[in-house]
């Protein structure tokens, strides 16, 4: 019997090393808080599906991460959220896209997995399903933060799609300036070897309405099987074509790589520098959190007492 392990992320990207304290500390605190929640749940014997869902719900509720409240805005200034969840033992999965009023998209993804014969529901159909199941919804203005309004304005002025960070530059509107990077996720394994992965996001700043990224695509942003559970973050288009989350498991299965090697290789092969990061746990209770971006908001803990909350590479 091996120990439990959990890892979570709040997004990988170009997080500047000189991030001011008032931006950095709330996020580190949130990561630590979510880690504690997840660890408690694992210690009480909750199944990794429950653990990853509750951690991601917490991250969705936090306005400083790009998921749920605090999601980045589409080119029309609206919010379109997506999420997916997967159970390693059974490989059952659920995914949603295009949610606009649901407080916790990850929970709808779980409902799709458990209450429908389908895997993936999108847009109006997903919203209708959520309503039919009495899932908590609010006015879409609830999700929109001033930082993201400013970020959208800036992106439009740059007239490009970007991950939601831009360094403040002269003559541009003062963006509240923080490195709120795309996507949140959590992976967990319990001592019985049950594995699960959950990922949630608002997507890209200034994205086209209807744009779907890697997060709800099983095998891209989320994957879990009997060997490992993976949640990826970064530039969706690269993660999709490289099937990053699946890649970690495939490398372990087909090439016999360890979790650490497989995770590192998957990130490295996903695309150019700056395109992705991931968190992963193995059935053996190992953790890996590689990224090829400047930083990745992350945290992990294992049963033997190791914990880590970090943003940049450890020196």
């Amino acid at each position: 019997m091996v120990g439990w392990a959990i890892a979570l992320h709040g997004g990988a990207g170009d997080i500047p090393m000189d991030l001011p304290d008032e931006r950095r500390i709330p996020r580190e605190t949130a990561l630590r808080h979510c880690l504690d929640l997840g660890v408690s749940a694992l210690k009480s014997g909750r199944h990794p599906l429950d653990v990853t869902e509750l951690v991601v719900r917490e991250l969705e509720n936090h306005p400083d991460f790009n998921a749920g409240k605090g999601s980045v805005l589409t080119t029309q200034g609206t919010v379109e959220m997506e999420a997916s969840i997967m159970d390693g033992k059974t490989k059952r999965c659920g995914a949603v896209s295009g949610l606009t009023t649901v407080v916790n998209p990850i929970s709808v993804a779980r409902l799709v997995m458990e209450k429908t014969p389908h895997i993936y529901l999108g847009f109006d159909g997903a919203q209708a399903f959520a309503r039919a199941h009495g899932v908590e919804t609010v006015e879409s203005s609830h999700f929109i933060t001033p930082e993201n309004i400013a970020r959208l304005k800036q992106a439009k002025e740059f007239n490009r799609v970007q991950l939601d960070y831009t360094a403040p530059t002269p003559n541009l509107p003062e963006v509240s300036g923080d490195s709120q990077i795309g996507t949140v996720g959590c992976v967990a394994v319990d001592s019985a070897g049950n594995l699960a992965s959950a990922t949630s996001t608002g997507g890209y700043v200034n994205k086209m309405v209807g744009r779907i990224g890697d997060t709800p695509v099983i095998g891209a942003g989320t994957y879990a099987n009997h060997l490992c559970a993976v949640s990826a973050t970064g530039k969706g288009e690269y993660i999709i074509r490289a099937t990053v989350a699946r890649e970690v498991a495939a490398l372990m299965e087909y090439k016999g790589l360890s979790l650490t090697e497989a995770a590192a290789y998957a990130v490295e092969q996903s695309g150019p520098r700056g395109c992705c990061g991931l968190v992963a746990v193995s059935a053996n209770g190992e953790v890996a959190m590689p990224y090829n971006t400047t930083g990745m908001f992350r945290a992990c803990a294992t049963e033997d007492g190791y914990t880590e909350v970090a943003i940049w590479p450890k020196n």
Partner: protein
């Protein structure tokens, strides 16, 4: 210079009692599409272009479950999805929730070529289509009388119905007793996904794949299946091109299309062995089929269910259209 190869499919999982007339129509359509692709390949059209034009033909013909002739949602409307992938640089494009675009595969191609994204859906995809000047029609265009009848039967059976091609007049109830075979929890006589797809390798050794579908009969609004998901229903790499069909859940969970390539890349085996392996070991209790080509000019079909509508051809003159083992 390599040798070209092409394969097309019209769905995995066929009722053994399917009327001969329908079997003939299917074979004729597959033959026609194969010939279209072959002519293009002989004129050195690139793999990605061949995939698109062949899938367009399959979408336009109302016989299979894509474009016109798509299965209907629970509301009697059509919501189509498709994906396309170019193995050379692993570029890809996908669409879901398409209701007015005549050829979803072409819209998927435009997403790949003309947008900064890989996957667009529902109203956003339709808006993109309008901006691109793509041919659009009313949703009615895609709805066939056969499918309207089918939807009624499905609702009576109160279950998810895959696209079913037996002519109207047979009650859903009779179907339950007709055959002991099952797919997706339903008697095989009322299961026939008939998703369409095409995979091609051209003379330059470039692989490409495309898949298109209307999805499940009586599906929930907004339901997305495996066909538009890169890695599940469609995948192409430098080594191969793959298009899958069958039980959507099984294909998604097993990332079936991606796994063919992954097995070749990481275990160093050839196409036939990779296809055999994933069909045998990746589907667990699920039923599905796939077509695949390799950059070496090989073409392979594999399925673990009762039949798959398929056709394949290679440059050295081999050509086959088949339905059963």
């Amino acid at each position: 210079m390599g040798r070209w190869a092409i394969a097309v499919h019209g769905g995995a999982g066929i009722d053994p009692n399917l009327p001969v007339e329908r079997q003939e129509q299917a074979k004729q359509l597959l033959t026609r599409c194969l010939n279209l692709g072959i002519a293009a390949l002989r004129s050195n059209v690139s793999a990605i272009d061949v995939v698109e034009l062949v899938v367009r033909e399959l979408e336009t013909d109302p016989l299979f479950n894509s474009g016109r002739g798509s299965a209907l949602t629970e509301n009697g409307t059509v919501e189509m999805e498709a994906s396309i992938m170019d193995g050379t640089k692993r570029r890809c494009g996908a669409v879901s929730g398409i209701t007015t675009v005549k050829n979803p595969i072409s819209l998927a191609r435009l997403v790949m070529d003309k947008s900064p994204h890989s996957y667009l859906a529902f109203s956003g995809a339709e808006e993109f289509a309008r901006k691109q000047g793509v041919e659009t029609v009313d949703n009615d265009y895609f709805v066939t009388e056969d499918n309207v009848g089918m939807l009624k039967l499905a609702k009576e059976a109160n279950s998810i119905l895959f696209d079913y091609r037996i002519p109207l007049g047979c009650a859903a109830g009779a179907a339950v007793t007709d055959s002991p075979l099952q797919m997706n929890g339903l008697p095989i006589s009322i299961y026939a996904p008939e998703t369409v797809g095409c995979v091609v390798v051209d003379r330059e050794g470039r692989c490409a794949a495309g898949t298109s579908t209307g999805g499940l009969m009586n599906k929930m609004m907004g339901r997305i299946g495996d066909s538009p998901l890169i890695g599940a229903g469609t995948y192409a790499s430098e080594l191969c091109g793959v298009s899958c069909t069958g039980e959507g859940e099984a294909i998604i969970r097993s990332t079936l299309a991606r796994d063919v390539s992954a097995v070749m890349e990481y275990k160093g085996v050839g196409l036939q062995e990779a296809v055999d392996y994933v069909i045998k070991h990746r589907l667990d209790e699920g039923f599905a089929g796939l077509i695949a080509v390799s950059n070496k000019g090989e073409v392979v079909c594999g399925f673990n269910c009762n039949g798959m509508f398929r056709g394949c051809a290679t440059e050295d003159g081999f050509m086959e259209v088949a339905m059963w083992e």
